[in-house]
Structures are given as C-alpha cells and as structure tokens.
Symmetry: C2
Subunit: 584 residues, 2 copies
C-alpha cells in the first residue's frame, strides 16, 4: 500500500507515475471505509482523488499554496499532507476537521466552509507574494457548483489584474449539491463538447488564460496540464472534467444524495440509521406544495440547497415553475424574492442561517428598504444545527433582527411555524424572516395565533409574579423547565412568555410586567451580543427591574458538544434558577 508510506507530498513525488493512479484508488478505498462508518462529504472527495495526487506531484506544497474552495473536498489533500492516519485508523477519524484548517497543517492556508471564496483568497496570497518578491505558485481549486456565487465571479473578474502567477483549477463534475443552475453551465458544457476549443469561453472573457483537461480522473493528463502552467507569469484556468462519486456506483448514479452521507453499508449503500420523527424541511415542503396548488403566484426559492426546503427531485418536478433554484447565489435569491414580491408574487426563500450571511446587503437594501412582502425561512439557526466553525447558526439574530422594516419571527412549535408561514405568505405589508426551530419538532396540537400583523405582541403562556421569563423560539421549552425549577425552589410561579417576535419588543407588556415582577430573564438560542435579550436590558435600563440575559458568548465555536456549550453559558434551568437566587 502506497498510502501508508505517504508522510508528506515529498513522498508522492518519489513515486513512479504509474503508481499514482494506484495511490488515488487507495485513497478512494480509505474514503469508502471511513465515510461509511463515520459520514461526511462523499461524492466531492471521491471525484478529486487523482487531481489531488497530481497537484501534489507537480507543485511543492506548502511553498506553493493550494486553496480549496468550500474545502469539503480536502480529504485526499489531508491524506497526502501528513494526516493519513485520520482516514486509515478508525480511532483517529475525528483527529481532523471536515474542512481545510491551518491549525492542523502548514499545507492548509484558510479555514473555509462557505463556497466561492477560493479565487479571491488566493488572489490575496498571490498579491502578498508579489509585494514580497516571492516566486511560489498559488493555486485555487474551485468546483463548478461554486462558480455561480458572486464572490467567485468577482474573483475570476479581478484575477487578471494581478498580472502574475495564479492557477485556478475548475473542477467540473457537472454538479452543485443538486444539479447546477445558471447560464454559465451551458458554457462549461460547450467547452466539454469542444475539448475546450470553443471561442466563447467564460474564463477567457474574464481575461484569463485557459487549459482544458478532458479526463480529470487521469493522473497523467492532469500532471501534464499542471506542469504546463506551473510557474506561469499570469492567471490561468485549468478546467478539469471529473466524475463526482467516482468508484462507488450508488454515488456515481445519484450524485445529489451522495454529496454528503451519514454512515452506510459499504456494500449496498443502504444508510445505517433512518431518521425518526418529522423534520421542518419535510413540513415546509408539504405546506408549500399544497399552497402552490391553491395559488399559482406562490414560488419557492432555493440557493443550491433545495433539500433545506424539502424539495427533492420529484418535488421540484411537481412544483414546475413554482420552484426556482438559483444555484449557489444567495444574493440573487433575496433580490429575486424582492422582485417577485414587488410584482405581486408570493416568494418563499429558504436557506441555512450560516448562508443567509452571504446576502446581508440584499436583505437590507434590495428587500427591506423596499419593504417588499417576501418570506425567508432560516434553518439550522440554533446550537442544535451544524457544529463546525464555518457553519454555525448562532449569529443570525444580531444580523437579521436589527434591519429596519424586517419582521423576524421565532415560532416554538410546528403549529406556530405553519401559522406564521401562512400568515407571512398571504400578508402584503412586511418582509418576514422566520427562524425555523432548531431542535426536534414539537407538535402540541394547540392552534396557534393566525394573525401576526399587530407587530411585536408577545404571548403570556403562564401568568405569575416576581420573575418573568421571555423564552424565544427554540428555547421556549428551556424557559418552561426554568419556570418550573424556580417555582419549585421559591414557591412563586414565574410568568412565562413566548415572544414570537425577535425584531421588536412588546413595550406595553414589558411596562406592565415591571409592576409585578422584579426580575426579567431572556433566553435566546444565539449569541448575546446584538441579540434579543440586550434589547430587553436596554428597555429596563432606566428602571429598577433586574434583567438576566441568557444566550451564548460571542465566539467561534468548533465541533462542540451541545450540552457543554449550554452549561458553559449557564443555560440549564438549575444554573438560571441559581443566578436568580443570587441576585442582590
């Protein structure tokens, strides 16, 4: 086995060329073994084995610097840069993160998890090299799915201004997570069909030189192409055509499902665990499909992750023109939603909290300055969401709730979510964002309020005295348990409130509370800084009411344990009750 002896890229260079394809196959076998037991990004890594070998054969990492876009396809890179044990030894599977990580290795230059950033980041490395008089190669490796993102296109446009060495490897596997969307993919097809010879060439129109590699899973072809551009004095695109999911038939066949995997049977591909219970993506898809039938102006919008709205391929077909996947292009998704709403349609855009960050200005300017009634659904906006540092969902409250005109809602149950969603789709007054609950689906069968047009009205779910608990969205159950704990300890029943609105305060209710309560507690499933609780603290700042805000401290968490984070931030009923008791 070659792989076992690879301590660094130097060892790759020592191998005879004919051994390199074998090494790539060994890496694929290691991927199949690890990921079938552990889960992770599957298809993207299987397809990039040969290219990774060729890159490390031709270039001299880490002097030459390779920046991987999204960086979920760096598993093979990690195997060749001193981290093979994390793929070969089951006990060490968790020794590496799922993304490039400078803390792990000198061969990694950035922690990256969002798409479309590699070209611009690599331009920065190249610019610094030029200022310092260096001569190393700078290489960006970007998948075709990432090309549609604004930052990637900006980067491709800017790159030629460097007038110096930059190599952009475009890994064309004809897929985003789902199928690709956007006109540029027709151009990639034209280039594939003409062996890269078509005159109409997106990359050349950005002023970039261009090299085509027909078989991006052929190590010799790749080595030839990379060697031809090594040390070049101007930016060049190397367009390589690879097969996503290569070497594992189920993943070659159903590329969308195998983009990322949970543990599975390596023989059959059957998942080892089947998800139990409802989930909000499924609930959303069912609602939207029904609504679309009733109203032809309802349209669902995704930005490269249709699964977040529960729209698998069959449902996308069913929805027809009432479902739009803009590709990875969140800015366009929000602008599109605003434009649809401005012209009388009823758009519902859904994405993850962490990706909504990519379109902050469009939320503010394209949508909220214009006050258009679009609906946006934010998923994984919770400590219970994705837990790696580049996909955290705990920053959206400060980002979203402080934009004027925007109504940010936080439902606590399935019933409340559906009521808010339907209200939002039908109303014509406000841009509305709904923070889809983050933990398991709670369905209490209770009919929720159907009209949210009287903004910022909180609901008192339990009347009490002395202490009031404002428990937002996902943390409503925590609020309930905290109320029980305080009552058990003090004998006094606290007031429990479901605020429902994140973006404004029920000042009338807060004023009334002050008459019979001396302490107000806020609970939010997000960072405290700039969040909901601080607004309550400001409201009561000039009064004798004591305010205790609970949420997370401002930090970048990485691969955390939820219970640890909750405890560290004193987010257990016991800790909160203790804090209340200790108030002087």
């Amino acid at each position: 086995m070659y792989l076992e002896n690879i301590q660094s890229p130097v060892d790759v260079k020592k191998l005879p060329v004919e051994a390199l394809a074998v090494l790539a196959e060994e890496m694929r076998a290691a991927l199949l073994k690890k990921l079938s037991a552990h889960g992770g990004h599957f298809g993207p890594n299987l397809g990039l084995a040969e290219a990774t070998v060729a890159l490390h054969y031709v270039f001299n990492s880490p002097t030459d610097k390779i920046v991987y876009d999204v960086s979920h396809q760096t598993y093979c890179h990690k195997m060749l840069t001193g981290r093979k044990d994390a793929f070969l030894d089951p006990e060490k599977y968790d020794d590496v993160s799922g993304y490039s990580n400078p803390q792990e290795s000198a061969h990694d230059f950035f922690t990256i998890g969002h798409t479309s950033t590699s070209v611009s980041l690599a331009c920065g490395l190249a610019k610094a090299r030029d200022l310092k008089g260096g001569t190393e190669n700078i290489i960006a490796v970007i998948g075709d799915g990432s090309l549609s993102g604004g930052e990637a296109l900006e980067g491709l446009d800017f790159a030629s201004e460097l007038h110096s060495n930059l190599i952009i490897v475009v890994n064309d596997n004809q897929m985003s997570i789902a199928e690709n969307h956007g006109g540029l993919y027709e151009n990639l097809k034209l280039l594939r069909d003409t062996d890269g010879k078509a005159e109409c060439n997106l990359f050349k129109s950005f002023g970039l030189d261009y090299v085509f590699v027909k078989d991006g899973n052929n190590v010799a072809e790749l080595i030839h192409a990379f060697a031809s551009v090594k040390n070049s004095n101007h930016p060049t695109v190397v367009h390589i055509c690879t097969q996503k999911g290569k070497g594992f038939l189920p993943a070659e066949t159903d590329k969308e499902s195998w983009h990322w995997c949970m543990p599975f049977d390596p023989e059959t591909g059957a998942p080892k665990f089947t998800p139990v219970g409802e989930d909000y993506s499924e609930i959303t898809a069912q609602y939207l499909l029904k609504k679309m039938k009733e109203d032809k102006t309802v349209v669902a919008i995704a930005s490269g992750v249709p699964a977040v709205l529960g729209f698998n391929e069959a449902r996308r077909k069913q929805a027809g023109g009432q479902f739009v996947d803009v590709g990875i292009a969140e800015e366009t998704a929000v602008a599109l939603a605003s434009g649809i709403a401005a012209n009388g349609g009823k758009p519902v855009y859904g994405t993850y909290s962490t990706f909504l960050q990519r379109t902050f200005d469009q939320l503010s300017q394209d949508l909220c300055v214009n006050n258009n009634p679009a609906t946006i659904l934010v998923f994984s906006a919770s400590i219970y969401g994705m837990n790696d540092v580049t996909h955290l969902g705990i920053y959206d409250i400060p980002m979203i709730s402080n934009i004027p005109n925007l109504v940010y809602l936080a439902p606590t149950t399935k019933e409340e979510y559906l009521a808010m969603l339907d209200w939002s789709v039908e109303q014509q007054e406000h841009p509305v964002v709904i923070r889809v609950p983050g933990a398991e689906v709670i369905s209490d069968g209770k009919a929720a309020k159907t009209d949210y047009s009287d903004l910022n009205r909180f609901t008192v779910t339990q009347s009490g005295s002395k202490t009031a608990i404002l428990a937002l969205g996902t943390f409503y159950p925590l609020g309930k348990r905290t109320a029980e704990k305080i009552q058990a300890e003090t004998g006094v029943q606290p007031t429990l409130i479901n605020p429902q609105f994140v973006s404004g305060l029920d000042e009338e209710l807060l004023r009334a509370l002050a008459k019979t309560h001396d302490t107000v507690i806020t609970l939010e499933d997000g960072i405290l800084n700039g969040g909901f609780g601080e607004k309550v603290a400001r409201f009561y700042g000039s009064t004798p009411v004591r305010v205790l805000n609970y949420g997370y401290k401002k930090e970048f968490l990485d691969r955390y344990n939820v219970e640890d984070v909750l405890r560290e931030n004193r987010l257990t009923p016991e800790q909160i009750a203790e804090d209340v008791k200790n108030l002087k």
Copy 2:
C-alpha cells in the same frame, strides 16, 4: 421646447423621431442648469439622455418595467415620467430624490442606491410576470462599472434560467466612478473593437442573447436595437456604448471628478465652494503613502471608490503595486485583504459604512474565522454621512461589532485615528476595523495611546461620580458637552469615558464605576438596536446601576436634517441631562 410638454412617456411616443435627439439635448441642458446650482450625479446622467428617450419611445412604461442599476442615472427617466418640474423649476429641485423611488412615481419599481442589483431584481419582476401569465417587457439598465459586483454577475448567470422575456441594457461608458478594473472590461473592449462580433463574449458565455449598439448616444440606433428585442421570449443583453459626461467638456475630459458634483460655474466648471479644513480621506492617503515607502508590504485596497482613501489618480500612480482597486467588488476586497494578511502583507481596505454591508459574510468567514490581521477603514459611518435612505452609515455597529475575533475601534480625534491605524497595520493578532470619525476632523494635538493590544480598555478622560458617560467615537464631543451640562445643573462632576473599543466592554472599569456611580449613559452615532449601549445595559442588567442608552431608533431615514434626527432621538446635552434628572 419639447421637454416642457412631456407629462409622461406617452408624450415621448407622440414626437417625431427627429425631435427625440433635440429632447435629449434639452434634458442635458436642464441637467447642466440644475446640477451646477444644486449638485448631484452628473456624468452618468449626461451620458444616458438618448438611451432614456429611446427606452421610453420603444417600451410602454410603467406596464413595461425598467429597473435602473444604482439608479443615480435616473434623472432623465424622471424628467420623462412626470417629474420634469424637479429639473426645470429651481423651487422644485428638491421634490425628487437622487435615485429611483416608487413613492414618487409608478414608473419606479425599487428604491435603489447600491450597485449591481438591477439584473436580479428584474429577474424577480419577470418571474412574477410569468407566474401571473403577464406579457410585459422587463428591462434592467446596468452600467459597465456595476458589472463587476458579485450580485450583478450572479444575476447575469441566473437570467438565462428564466427562459422568458428580460432585456438587460449594458450601458458601457468605460468607467466606474474611477477607471474600470477587472478582466471583463477587456472583453467589453474587444466587443467594442469588433462591433460586437467577437465570438468570445462574456454575456453569451452566460447563455444570454446579445445585441450591440455602437453609438449609444444616437437615438435612432437605440430605437432600432430596443425595438428588435421588444417582446422577445428570452433574456437578451443590449450592449450600448455611451459617453459619460457627454455635452460638457470638463466632464467628458475628467470623467472621475465629474461622476458626482457639488455646485459649480456652468461656464467654466469651477466649483462654487472649496472645501475647508482637513478631511479623513486626505489624512489617510498621506499616512498610507508614507507608510508604503517605509514598508513594501503595505498595500491599500479600494473597491471602486478610491477617493474614500484619498487616492486620486496621481497617488494611485505613486503607490504603484501597493494600491489595488478591485472595482466594485467588496466581497473580493475583503477576501483579498485576508489573503494578503495570511501571506505576510499588511493590507488596508477602505470603504463607506453602507457599502461594507455588501461583504458581511466575507468579514465573518474569510477574515474573522481565519483571524487574519487585516485593517479595514469605515468611512461615513455617522449621521453626518450621506443622508439618503440607500447610503446611511448608522447600521455598521450591530453589523460589525458582533462578529467574533474582530476588533472594532472608534477614534475620537485625528491623533487617535492615526495611532490606531498605525497600531493596526503593524499588529499581527486581529482583524481590525476602524470607524473613521464622522463629523469634522478634531485635532487636539494630544498624543494618543499607541498600543491597543490590551483589548477593550476604555480611557477615563474625566473622573467624577454619580453619573458616568461612555461617549463613543464621533459622539465624544457630545459626551463632553453633556458632562458639562450635568455638572452645571447638579454641581456634581460626571465621569467621562472614551471607550475606543466598540466590539467589547471594559468589564473591570464598568465594575469599578458601579461603586461610585448610580447612572451610566452611553452615546453612539448609530442605531441603538444591536449596538454598543445595549451591551452596557446587559452588563449592568443584574445590578442596581441605571443605564440610559442614546443613539438612533431602528428605521430607514431619508434625506434628513441632522439636527432634527438628533433632537428626535434626545441626543442633545439638554435632553440627556433632563432624562437623568427625571430618573426615579
């Protein structure tokens, strides 16, 4: 005069074709007269007179819908859509805003002030039309300078997915505010040089149909082209070549200076007012040019507005490779800065507060997750900045200061600004954003602290008791006046504090204050929601200390008077002193 009789586009259609060029000249004369007295966007409007006439001659606005990118070139559109008096009658000059505005006219569909949004917004209008079974034309008018922005490129890529009518007019005047940057401009040149016939065509590579208009200031040519694409069933780009500043020699010659104008002599072009005193752009350029000479790794970055850093053409030449204008591409600007810092360079990126919004995710992910030591300067982050709704500078504190790892500094004087800037450029620990003061430059000659590495240390500038005032950045002088007022009224000297840090609290100092103060006042030149003051309110929430937060309420202001806004938000020393007195 034709213009006087134009009440709506219907009247344009009634004119003989040979009168249309005359109408365009009349509009230009009106622009020269109004803008020489009033100021405004000059060059962009002069160049687009004929195209605006032709659009309204061929299409049926407002049934057909025209979306103008940035929309600072809509003056002629306003003249032809019932708003001519605002350009002909000096008493009515202020009746219209400087941007498209649905509240003014049914011919305007969005309030737009940021670039690069028109194609995606127009896609939304078109999608809603298709859902509703409409047949109107949807037209986006986008300047070449706006093409480099990520949202515009995303929109061009997505547009072909509509498979229905969309007309994208690319107004190619070979300029952004300054010269264009990016590889795509070479492609536009190739297209101009070949009368649009070159096979390598950016727009075609995005799957769009393409029509070329050699003389975009020739009404007949424009009418012919627009008529040829009217009612087409697929997205088409109409590439028109126009002359920025057309008809006014100084503006034709020096396009950058005449992009926007203050009042000037219409005979000579000489400005009527010369700015007095220093400004922070000038101070920044002088610092950076000196620093660049001393250290070849220092590099200044602009994103289409080099003037914000004081880098006019001569200085750009002087800086050579140490100055980079990425064009309108804020996302790439931040990623570039992060990449440069990661590879040992010292980048300083500068832009306006309102435009920094366009790169929120890059601040968070590309820069702060990676904790790279780049410096970002935020200008016009103040109520004293630009005052139209799309360019407000009062939202950056919640946006920026709640990102982990980021150090947000607010200097109060020139000396402090330069000390912070130099510290930031030299340090290697943190991404740093500096909120350049917003009102006039204050230079007190006092040497400022030179080391800010002990984060979140506030400076007590006046020791007192009972009341403490935390007066941030631009509002430090207001804090001083407020302290004087309170002392005059109560006889007790308040404590005055210059926090310097926006992104964190000096908890030690705040704890000490609580021993001798019962009231803490915070002053910030930004919205209160998610801001600095709320963090102070949270800190003291569990204590008896009363906190009064001053800043602006969360709303979209438009063309406001500063003194009115300050008074409405109780931001005068008298009002604050009164509030303190009224505390129970």
